[in-house]
């Protein structure tokens, strides 16, 4: 029987806690749509979350779930996936979770190339704790801890993942809901570490302070900012600074950690077999 996205939602927990117009709901929809289209049973998927608004996503899911401490989702997920390579393991992390407090696990998971998919919701701030700046907040943005503008530039999360060694790297926005779903599917299917960065509106904080408090305006802002990667690469530098690239940025074929580990060390799940999930 074909599954619907609703089969991955825990109806009894809805409505969710997110603010009106928050992008998190749109990503949750895309994630569950992707799982449905991949026809993965909820019991075979472990959703690993951190702490944050996006980190609450597990509460609305009917998959297996692990809601860990702030910033450590990838480290928990590394253990889960390596201990049972048959599971499909997806981590849902905010920009704080993934690349601020969790930056070390992020680069090491990418380097180690564990067969995981990381869906990083980048809303350019800490939504959960009240809109402070994070490591992705753009230079000079106003947040609750940078009333005059933040003095640090934000990470290019995808570039960072690439430099760390990620096998599959993509970026999109919640405006691009269909592309989002498809990139998540592709990320899950791709062996090794896959990153899907999703630029997402936090109308309550980042939006209100820097763009606009209206969810619709935030959506349109995303639409304007996002440029398909091919086109982006041809833009003049100043134009690039005003936008970000969306689409598939990296696709490599390094074998995943578990497969390499077994190849080198032997063991029951031997070289030929390795991690067969998601292939």
């Amino acid at each position: 029987m074909a599954l619907s996205y609703k089969d991955y939602l825990e109806q009894s927990q809805l409505p969710h806690m997110w603010c009106p117009g928050c992008g998190d709901g749109i990503i949750l929809r895309a994630y569950t749509e992707a799982l449905a289209e991949l026809n993965l049973a909820p019991k075979d998927v472990v959703t690993v979350t951190g702490i944050g608004c996006w980190g609450k996503a597990d509460d609305y899911l009917s998959t297996q779930a692990f809601h860990g401490t702030h910033g450590r989702a990838l480290a928990f997920a590394t253990g889960i996936k390596t201990a049972n390579p048959d599971l499909t393991v997806v981590t849902l992390m905010g920009d704080g979770d993934a690349v601020t407090i969790g930056g070390n696990h992020f680069i090491h998971a990418a380097r180690r190339n564990v067969n995981l998919t990381a869906i990083v919701t980048n809303n350019y701030n800490y939504g959960m704790t009240g809109g402070q700046y994070s490591a992705t907040t753009p230079l000079e943005s106003k947040t609750t801890t940078s009333p005059n503008g933040v003095a640090e530039p934000g990470f290019d999360v995808c570039f960072l993942a690439e430099a760390a060694g990620a096998n599959f790297v993509a970026r999109t926005t919640v405006y691009h809901a269909v592309a989002l779903k498809n990139l998540i599917k592709e990320g899950i299917l791709h062996p090794g570490f896959s990153l899907v960065e999703v630029i997402s509106p936090c109308p309550t904080y980042f939006g209100r302070f820097n763009v606009h408090p209206s969810p619709v305006n935030m959506m349109n802002w995303l639409k304007e900012k996002a440029i398909p990667v091919q086109k982006y690469r041809e833009l003049p530098l100043e134009e690039q600074h005003e936008h970000f690239a969306v689409g598939k940025l990296v696709k490599k074929d390094r074998p995943d950690f578990y497969t390499t580990y077994r190849r080198i060390n032997g063991g029951k799940k031997g070289a030929e077999e390795g991690d067969t999930n998601g292939r």
Partner: protein, 176 residues
């Protein structure tokens, strides 16, 4: 027993401005030379979700900072109404939003269509000034004037007038 104390609970949904309301109430009391302590209870939701301000006002020292025996509970949501059912005495006034709460019909329960009236005033956000007006009528722990003064000091000019009107309306329309 020390000096007379008032305990007022403002309960509703995150985003309704109840914490600000509680702070204003406490500030008005302080301005009148009383002691006041304001505390809050809230969940992790930024908008929506349960939210509550508690204000204890006294002419003496306030030790216990919460409302263990409230004089008045404002319930703008069902959750707020339900939460306090078991904790209040028969004397406690429960002022609830008729548009959002089903009352259990206690003698001291008092309904008022806060949401509808706020919308009538042109902005849902004035619901907290509206409620403050009603609260002060029922529980005159500070004068309406003191409260208006606090609002004057706290609100931007363009919001002020509407809020003062809401305060007046709430104060005027509630019948004790």
């Amino acid at each position: 027993m020390g000096a007379k104390q008032w305990q007022i609970v403002l309960g509703g949904t995150g985003g309704q401005g109840l914490i600000l309301g509680g702070v204003s109430l406490a500030k008005a009391a302080v301005a009148e030379g009383k002691n006041a302590v304001q505390t809050q209870t809230y969940g992790i939701q930024t908008r929506g979700g349960y939210s509550q301000a508690e204000v204890v006002i006294s002419e003496g020292t306030v030790y216990f900072p919460k409302c263990d025996n409230p004089d008045l509970v404002l319930a703008l949501s069902q959750a707020a109404y339900d939460r306090y059912q078991s904790k209040i005495s028969a004397d406690c006034i429960v002022l609830y939003d008729r548009d959002a709460v089903t009352s259990k019909g206690r003698a001291k329960d008092l309904g008022y269509p806060f949401q509808a009236k706020a919308l009538d005033l042109g902005n849902e956000k004035v619901i907290n000034s509206l409620a403050l007006g009603a609260v002060l009528k029922l529980c005159p722990v500070v004068s309406k004037e003191s409260m208006a003064k606090v609002l004057e000091g706290a609100l931007p000019a363009k919001a002020l007038n509407l809020n003062l009107r809401a305060l007046e309306l709430g104060y005027g329309e509630i019948i004790n």
